[in-house]
Every structure is written in structure tokens, then in C-alpha cells.
Symmetry: C2
Subunit: 496 residues, 2 copies
């Protein structure tokens, strides 16, 4: 068995290597590649994906998994975690014929430019056929896994392993009932944030972004920050972390976006060295990843303790904008709640409703409860119901996100699940480190970083996301801390 385990590890290391290379090449594509290179890049990434799939579904992997007596391994051990994950990955991968995978990849690739055009010309009708095709292929994908009580479970499980539609619905319903009235209450509150818009010279923004992540704990020998169109975090391993941002000359958006990507980058950077080359050597799920990014962006980056420390530096960098603006006014402005059309620009409070809307529509789509051509109308109805705003057109509505064009159905809920988990983790850190806020106010971020390393990042992907959360906080997912946090922060007028 020791030999079978060693062989499995070697194969899984190759698999992870191929996936890391493919991920790194996507970074290059978004950040460095000359645009005409896109044809080569698509072929090369497809080659790596095909080889990865062959590595994973090789019958020898199944044989090795059968030979290994997982019961004899310590359930907390790295080896047990790897065997468990490899079994899950193998069992899922072998259900799906290579031809269907290939059809899905082609359909996504073909849908993407049509979506771009539909969004540009503000014409959902244009996108209807490729969307139909992507949805139909997802239904065939679901069928590969046999009869289901809830078809959407299969898709969700690809993005947030072992999470069910019923469980997410329970959490989101709990949130919805609190958020909708909170938003209605906050929407008319007058907040002066005019000073957040104006002229922010790019070179000073670049220097500021670096200053903030240096402060958080970025090591230039193993990280890069580069500009791109749509920010993301990537890299080629724990010692090669690459975060990206998008600078806007007229606002500070890049600063918060960089803090967000820092959270993703730190998670990958602090994965234990022994796990790193294996499939267990990465974040446990999209949801847990988002818990880290939203923690650094919101719980640190939009908090009073952080700005007590950092606001004087910001004022120094942009004196034209912030001279004469007191800390409290600034804090209130960066936490302004205002229903808006675009998810990725939404504030901390309204963001959740954008996700819930998509989670609900996706289930209707997969279960055939909505005609695709009626999506714009359903979108508009929900935007009115949840956020009280009117959708002027498709580009600012149903066409805004790239996910469905890329065939990613089941992804959205992880954004809100992550946000919910971020507050649970934050409360546990405050329990363990009662003076956390004072430390942040002094510019000490090492304590936070180390707590995350020791309690969350240490597990990599050894356990399910919920088991990882339970080990970190003592509890599985629970919306109450998140709702309490929002009401505490936003429920009453913000005190100075």
C-alpha cells in the first residue's frame, strides 16, 4: 500500500503541475500576452486540460485508489486528505464522457465572443442561442451523475464541494429576510462621498497599492502586482503569487480591489509546503477563498481601525482629494450603501442581494422553470423587489457577468457563502486575539496573517470546505454573525 500511495502521489503531483501551468498561462493571457497570441494560448491550455483529464481518469488511478486502505490512515493526515480528494475527483471525472467535456469547452469558447458583442450592443436576443446551448450541455452534464432530487446540486458541488441547494437556500433565505428591509432603510441615508471621485494620478495609485500590500505582508521576491482588465489572483505556486488590479484615474477602486486580491493571494501563499505540489495544496473551495479576499477587503480594508492607522498616509498621497476631509467622513463614504445595477461595484450590504438573485434564477434555468428569453424581465422584477431599482437595459442587467457565457452555472453563490464565512472566521479571530483591532490600528497585520495560516490555510484542500471552516471556527456555515455584523455596522447611523 505504501507503494500504491507513493504512485498515487506521483500521479497527483503531475496532475496538479499541469493545472498550475494552465492557470499560470491564463495569468499571462490576461496580463502580458500580445492579443494576437490568443489562438496559440487556447490550443495550449486545451492541450494541458486534455492531458490533466487523461492523468486523472487513467484506470490506474482507480486501481491505486482501490488498493489503498484509506481506513488505516490517520483521518487528519495529509495522506488521508489526498486520498479522499483524489477519490472524489476521480469518481466525478470518470462519470463524464470526454466528448461531452469537449463539447462544453467548445460551446463556452464560442459563447464568449457572442456575449461580448451582445453586451456591447445591449442585445440579449443575440446571446440567446449560445446560452441555450450552454444550458443544454449543463443539463446533459448533470445527467451523467444519475437521477437527482435537485439537478442544481450537481453544478453547485463543482464550485462549492458537498454544499447542497437546500442548504444554500436556507442560508440565503435567512439573509434575504434581513437584508431587503435593511437596504430599504439605508438607501435614502445621505452620505457625502464626492471626495472619493476626482483625480488620482496613476503613478501614485500604483505606489499606494504596493504600500498597502507591503503593509499587509506582501513579499516582493514571491509576489507580483500587475494591471489587467478584470482583476484576479493567480500564480504558479506558493512562492509565485500574482495578483492583478485595474487602475481608474478617477477613483480609488483599485485600492480596495487590490486588498481583495491580496486575500486570495495570501491564502495560496500560506499553504503548507508539504501540500503545495499536490491537489490538496490550494484553497479548500471558491467560497473559502472568497472568505479570505472579502475579509481583507471589507473586515480589514473598510474598517475604522485600519483607517485610523492608514488614513494619514492616504491624505499625504492625495492631499488635493482628502485635505480637510475628517477620518469619520472618509470612513462613512467608503462604507456608503446605495443600491446599484452592477454586482462587482456593489457595496457590502447590497452585494448579497445581487448574488441571491442569480442563485435563484440559475435554479429556475436549470430546472426549466423560466424561458431563457424571459430572463431580462425576471431579472428586472427581482432587481426591483430586492434593491428597489429599475434596470435600464440588458448590458446593465442580465448581460453584465461573464459567467454564463463561460458555462459557469453554479458559481455565483460562492461569493456570498464566502462573505458569510468571512465574518464567522473574523469573530473567531477576535475571540482568540482580543486586541486584534488595536493591533490593526497600530499597523500590525502579522497576527492576523499568522492566525489565518495556522487555522485556515494550514489545511489546504485536505478537508471539505465545511470541515475546514469547522476546524477553524468550531462551527459550519451560519448566517447569524454576518447579519449581526451588518446590522451593527450599518443598522444605526455611523458614530464618529
Amino acid at each position: 500500500m505504501a507503494d500504491a500511495l507513493a504512485q498515487l502521489k506521483a500521479r497527483m503531483t503531475d496532475l496538479r503541475g499541469l493545472q498550475s501551468i494552465a492557470g499560470f498561462m491564463v495569468w499571462d493571457q490576461q496580463v502580458m500576452m500580445p492579443p494576437a497570441g490568443v489562438g496559440h494560448r487556447a490550443q495550449h491550455v486545451a492541450l494541458l486540460q486534455r492531458l490533466s483529464h487523461e492523468k486523472l481518469t487513467d484506470p490506474e488511478v482507480g486501481r491505486l485508489l482501490d488498493e489503498i486502505d484509506a481506513g488505516s490512515l490517520d483521518p487528519d493526515s495529509d495522506d488521508f486528505g489526498l486520498v479522499r480528494l483524489a477519490r472524489r475527483m476521480y469518481d466525478k471525472a470518470v462519470q463524464v464522457p470526454v466528448e461531452l467535456r469537449s463539447e462544453m469547452a467548445i460551446a463556452s469558447a464560442e459563447a464568449k465572443p457572442v456575449w461580448v458583442k451582445a453586451k456591447e450592443t445591449n442585445d440579449f436576443g443575440l446571446f440567446l442561442d449560445p446560452l441555450e446551448r450552454n444550458v443544454e450541455l449543463r443539463r446533459r452534464y448533470v445527467e451523467c451523475f444519475g437521477p437527482q432530487d435537485e439537478l442544481y446540486d450537481v453544478l453547485l458541488d463543482d464550485f462549492e464541494p458537498e454544499m447542497t441547494t437546500a442548504e444554500v437556500t436556507r442560508i440565503f433565505d435567512e439573509i434575504k429576510v434581513e437584508l431587503v428591509p435593511l437596504i430599504a432603510e439605508l438607501r435614502d441615508r445621505e452620505v457625502d462621498d464626492a471626495f472619493l471621485f476626482g483625480h488620482f494620478p496613476l503613478d501614485r495609485q500604483v505606489a499606494l497599492d504596493h504600500e498597502v500590500v507591503d503593509l499587509f505582508g506582501h513579499r516582493p521576491d514571491s509576489w507580483r502586482i500587475d494591471p489587467t482588465e478584470h482583476p484576479f489572483a493567480s500564480g504558479a505556486g506558493i512562492d509565485d503569487i500574482r495578483i492583478t488590479t485595474h487602475y481608474y484615474e478617477d477613483s480609488l477602486k483599485s485600492l480596495f480591489s487590490t486588498m481583495h486580491e491580496y486575500g486570495h493571494g495570501l491564502y495560496e501563499h500560506q499553504i503548507p509546503r508539504a501540500l503545495a505540489p499536490l491537489p490538496t495544496g490550494c484553497g479548500a473551495s471558491l467560497g473559502l477563498h472568497e472568505s479570505q479576499s472579502r475579509m481583507w477587503e471589507n473586515l480589514v480594508g473598510r474598517s475604522m481601525p485600519f483607517w485610523r492607522f492608514f488614513y494619514p498616509q492616504l491624505q499625504e498621497v492625495f492631499p488635493e482629494q482628502f485635505r480637510g476631509v475628517e477620518l469619520e467622513r472618509f470612513y462613512t463614504a467608503v462604507n456608503r450603501v446605495q443600491p446599484s445595477l452592477i454586482r462587482i461595484r456593489a457595496d457590502e450590504v447590497t452585494y448579497g442581494m445581487h448574488v441571491i438573485l442569480r442563485f435563484e434564477l440559475e435554479q429556475d434555468i436549470v430546472n426549466g422553470r423560466v424561458e431563457l428569453r424571459d430572463l431580462p424581465q425576471r431579472w428586472a422584477e427581482k432587481m426591483d423587489e430586492y434593491l428597489g431599482i429599475e434596470v435600464p437595459d440588458d448590458a446593465n442587467g442580465v448581460l453584465q457577468d461573464t459567467h454564463w457565457a463561460s458555462g459557469l452555472i453554479g458559481y455565483f453563490s460562492t461569493y456570498l457563502l464566502g462573505t458569510v464565512m468571512s465574518v464567522q472566521i473574523w469573530e473567531k479571530i477576535q475571540e482568540d486575539v482580543p486586541d486584534l483591532e488595536e493591533r490593526i490600528e497600530r499597523g500590525d497585520f502579522a497576527t492576523l496573517r499568522e492566525w489565518l495560516a495556522d487555522n485556515v490555510h494550514v489545511h489546504g484542500r485536505k478537508f471539505t470546505p465545511q470541515e475546514t471552516l469547522r476546524r477553524a471556527t468550531g462551527s459550519t456555515i451560519d448566517a447569524k454573525p454576518y447579519l449581526a455584523y451588518l446590522k451593527r455596522k450599518y443598522g444605526a447611523p455611523v458614530a464618529a
Copy 2:
């Protein structure tokens, strides 16, 4: 057989894909990667190399090659070229046990840092053991190919296919007998080039480099130019060309280096689209590649017609340096001949002797005619004999190049073979385009680019290097045009 050919093509496309990805990752390593990423990168590149080797040496490739009746294919066709190349690659690859390949890779990786330290501390003794190991492994590598009249042939063939030691010796001896007296004659000629050294602000150099390659015919949508330590050209395919340069604040070196890398980049960029995804879709050999880079660097970039056109622009960019320096003085200065210690900084005339010295020493090493510990002394003797200069230390002598540390024995001669071929090709272009120099003087480089596309680049790696040269020029390699060119350009005092 059509089916066997299609299968071979699919396998060869995968092989080329893996090699392209590995090459692209080396670009990233040299240009973008945070330094701590080196560990991941080594593992990922090794993985791609192992998978490439498995793809190539798969017994099924041998079976397909046996099944295909190459005799029935048109010898000029892409298919024939691919089958011929695949046969050659397969036959060579299967001779060498995987274990030996792995030992060679490890020995090279281990030798590299020792060489760096030996060079830094100027201590050849330190490098003796890893060099011994690399040489011993190369001897074992040669043995894999059975008894040889000349052991060095096997190594040479890896870098310049189907070129023999005897043939290179014949060419180099012909060059040596002319070069040594020419250098002796030129070494004392007084040339004022003080204005080539001074202060060249980096931002202006960057703009100038872009201006020159734009002029030559660089397309920003499919090319990048980035700074790095040791300039090279790379990329991920014909639409994704990445050249690199190194800027020095005190000289214009980067300009000539960029023209050199442009030549390499253009060769890969102009490979026909049908060949591009296959192993035939790249330059025919290192030597032919060098013929292209040295053509753009020297035959264009150090020529009077080019500077008649471009010198006014250079004067405008660096008025402090070139105001008051006439074109003729400038031209003479950038063509100054002066024996020096370092190959990569050598001028057009002395360069050849640096290569010949290494070519001769390498044969002595491989055939055991020199004790490795005596290399510094042999180096010094030859430098005195060929260039009339004294070697002060190992760092400026035998330790200057990275090749032997990387296990690359047999590589050097391709630099001079390429230079020789560049002049043969140049003369043929002038025959076909009698007003080539006038065109260059008018800033028209399209004619040159298109001639190269139609007569050299069109063949990719379909034919042997010498067959490629013969198709382009009507002749295989011949030193006479090169020697005549040098004597014409340098033999008499340069006329205004």
C-alpha cells in the same frame, strides 16, 4: 496510411505544444517571475520535458513512422518534411535511456550555481568537478549512438543537424587563416568612439528600441519587448513573439542587441501558418537562426545605408551625445574593431575567433586531449595567438559563458556558422533585389522581410539546415562571401 499520417500529426502537434509551453515558461522565468518562484518553475519545466519525451518516444510513434510510406510523398511537401523530421527526432530520442537524460538534467542544474559562484569568485578550480561531471555524461551520451569516427559529431548534430566536425573545421580553418592577420592589421587603427559612451536615459532608449523594431516591421499586437538580464528571443507561437533586451545607461548596446533579437523573432513570426503547430514550424537550426539575427544586427544595423536613413533620428533622440558627430564618424565608431576578452561584446571581425577558440577546445575536451584543469592556460594561449590579448583572470576567460555549465557542448560553432550563412543569404538578396541598399536608405524594410519570408522562413524546419540554405541561395555553406565582406568592409580604411 492517411490515417497513420493524421495520427502522427496529432502526436507531433502535442509534442510541439508541450515544447512551446516550456519555452514560454522560460521566457516568464527570465522576464517576469518573482525570484522565489524558481523552485516551482524547475518542477513544471521538468514535468513538461518528461511528458514531451514520453510523447516522442512512445512506441506507437515508431509504429506510425514504419507504417507511413514516405517514398510516396512529395519530397517538397509539408508532410514529407514532418515525417522526415519526426523520424530523425524519434530515432535519436530512443537511443538515450531516460535515466541518462535525467542525470544530464540534474548535473546541469547542479553545475549552474557552482559556475555562477566560480565566476563571481574568479576561481576555475571550483567549477572543475561539475564540469568534469557534465563532460563525462556527454561522453556517455555520445556512446548511446554507437561507435563514432569523431565523438564530437554526435554533440554537434544536436545543435546543427547533419553538420559534421570535419565540415565545420574546414570552414573555420578557411576563416582563421584570413581573420588572424586581418585582426592584427586592424587592431592598431585609431578610431574615435568616445561619443558612444556617456549618458543615454533609459526612457529614451526604450522608445528608440521600439522605434527601430517598428521600422523593421514589428507588430505590437503579436510582439512584446521586455528588459531582462541576458537578452534572448522567445514566444509561444508565430502570433506571440517575445524579444528581450538589456538597457545600459552608459551605452547604446541595447539598440544593437534589440536588432539582433528582432532577427530571431522575425524568423519565428514568419513561419507559415500551416507548419506553425508542428515540430517543422520553427527555425531550421541554431545556425540558420543566427544567420537571421546577425543579418539584422550587422548587415542592416551596422550598415551605411541604414544609418543614412536613421542617424538623423538618433541624433534627435540623443542630441547631447551626437550633435556635431558626423555620420561617417558615427558609422566608423559602431564598426570599430578591437580585440577584447568577452565573446558577447566582440565586434563583427573578432567575434569569429572567439567561436573558433571554443570549437577547438570543445573537441579537445570531448576527445580527452586536454586535462580540464589545464583549460585556463589553453584558453590564454589561444587568446594570445588569435586576438593578441592577455587573459587577466578566469572570469574574463574560460568562465565567461554559461554553456558548459548548462551541459551545452557543441553549441558555440552555430554562432559563426550563422554569421557565415548570413552573408551568403545577403548576397543572394542583393542579386534578387539589386536596389536593396537604396530601399534600406529610404527606410523600406518590407522588401527584405518579404524576401526572407519567401525564401528562408517559408521552409520552417522541413529541410536540413544546409538544404534550407541551398534552396534560399543555391549553395550550401561557404565562407568566401563572408570573408570577402569583411575584407571589403574593414580591409581598407572606411571611406566617407
